[in-house]
């Protein structure tokens, strides 16, 4: 059905259209890409490509542009990995190298990615539920308000104020802190809540049930809420693609809606393969965009995902390699 030359034609259309953002005609193709055939032949091929749904005509007597399906085929079978330039590699290293802590790593990564790809970059914070507890700290605010601070091995620090139904003296506080740490340190957070059920009795056993239930709730909401953190950069780059999105508004709205972003990133957390979602494969609001994402983490574990959002008319090979390179580098940083 689709012989090699037809695929070459499709590739030529995608590449040229990405470059010029104008519908590409048969004549242009034979001029730029030496296929060794005449425009008429290319036209015939384009007709079948159109029948199969890989390309489309904005209107009669215009050239062709790729459809989502066409981009999909291009990404899956026709694109070559485009290695990063040494300058880009150096930029990644020098830019991310100076990060002092987790916030810094995330913020730098997202800015870097936006700059490299000239698109909107999104970086998810390392998942809490897949992290382990390094330390739990309790700070007394008032007689019956405590601040719980949770520190994980990935460097995240989460906090939550909790209201106690009863006053707590300092001794009980120390005890509670101690037993919390003994019970939780080293555990994965997603099992932390469960582990609390067998908290040892302290000097005031009458507190036990209320404390465990309280802590369980707190931990759960903490994990759930904190799971949902993402950093975003490069929104201004959207405007450069004004031609591609007739209306930017829904895109901006979708990007501000963290839930949407998390769903987007959450599904792609294999650190070994870049995932590309094209056009309609995306959730509402991002139907006119493509999303390139990948998981990251130390080694081949995945703690979270990062990626970029751009027009379907996108330099897929370049974007994919930039995303992968940044993910690897960030993963390595977190490993140490």
């Amino acid at each position: 059905m689709l012989d090699d030359r037809k695929l070459d034609v499709l590739r030529a259309i995608v590449e040229d259209f990405v470059r010029t953002s104008e519908p590409v005609g048969s004549k242009h193709i034979v001029e730029r890409h030496h296929l060794g055939v005449s425009p008429a032949t290319v036209r015939n091929d384009m007709a079948t490509l159109e029948d199969e749904g890989y390309i489309a005509q904005p209107h009669t007597s215009a050239g062709r542009i790729p459809t989502d399906k066409g981009y999909r085929l291009f990404v899956d079978r026709l694109s070559q990995v485009k290695p990063l330039s040494p300058a880009e590699r150096r930029a990644i290293e020098s830019f991310l190298g100076g990060a002092v802590d987790l916030d810094d790593v995330v913020n730098r990564s997202v800015k870097l990615l936006a700059q490299l790809t000239r698109q909107v970059a999104v970086v998810q914070y390392p998942s809490l539920s897949r992290s382990t507890v390094r330390h739990v700290e309790l700070v007394q605010l008032t007689a019956n308000r405590l601040l719980l601070v949770l520190i994980t091995d990935t460097g995240r620090v989460e906090q939550r104020v909790l209201e106690l139904p009863v006053a707590l003296d300092e001794g009980s506080l120390d005890e509670l802190r101690g037993s919390l740490n003994r019970t939780l340190v080293g555990r994965h957070l997603d099992e932390a809540a469960k582990a609390l059920t067998n908290l040892p009795d302290g000097s005031r056993p009458e507190l036990r049930p209320v404390m465990t239930s309280l802590m369980t709730v707190v931990l759960e909401t903490l994990v759930e809420r904190a799971e949902q953190r993402v950093a975003l950069a490069g929104a201004a780059n959207l405007t450069a693609h004004a031609l591609d999105f007739p209306v930017i508004r829904p895109v901006l709205e979708a990007l501000e809606e963290q839930v949407v972003l998390l769903k987007l990133l959450g599904e792609a957390n294999d650190p070994t393969t870049v995932r590309v979602r094209i056009g309609d494969e995306n959730p509402e609001g991002l139907r006119s965009t493509s999303v390139v994402s990948i998981g990251y983490g130390p080694g081949s574990d995945s703690l979270a995902s990062l990626g970029v959002v751009g027009p379907t008319r996108m330099d897929y090979p370049g974007t994919m390699s930039a995303v992968r390179a940044v993910a690897r580098y960030v993963g390595d940083l977190l490993g140490s």
Copy 2:
């Protein structure tokens, strides 16, 4: 020079232009605002208003639109405070009421403000240097890496990893933690670094100089870096004003540049008066916008600022009262 009627005319022009976003002509004015004079008279007034630079004509044979100077006069002398509707008051209370901690307060405020004003909202985190230390926690990560966690009375929790030149045993760590807390708790952060110079000697006095200098540096960078946190929401609202900004890009870029935002907000931290910057009064990139901002904090102290960024063609009275109301409410929340 400018009698009352001319001011009325200016007010009419500003109000109508804000509502319709179309140049307003003499006839429209006498129709909508019963000034009791004829179009010809209004025309004469408009001519002098134009001479004085308060209004301008996009082109001959079009109506007039306010200039930045016109808006300025309107804001300073012609606008009435527009009280919030009960529905809006209720919205603020119910939306902000459920906040569980500082992050939550800031995030909710910024979203609320964006929704109320239908513009881009910006909320600065409470200043660290004006907060006092509630608790300092040290967590040992490896033999010579520590995590410093700083908790303030405004509920902020800041963290920083520090590399020690020497290994530290657990006893010294406890001692250090104790003396840090004794020295710092209750102090303002901007004097915290200084206070460290007379840290009492511990069991290993040879550590003292290196520890103090280390802590000083850490505290300083911590304060400096953390000072610069802002939350932003409603970027999508920019697109609704596409008519007002021929190009959104520089605006989006300026909004992503935290430094610009902080400068913007940093200068307006009197919690008693709303500050309005119009058009050219703003820094590069925001010259086509107006910024309405105010300080907030418990009582009449100012911990930080919040505000909105929108087109110069903006409902100033409404925006100003929304900004002030949210600031008051947030200030009250932080007081408790």
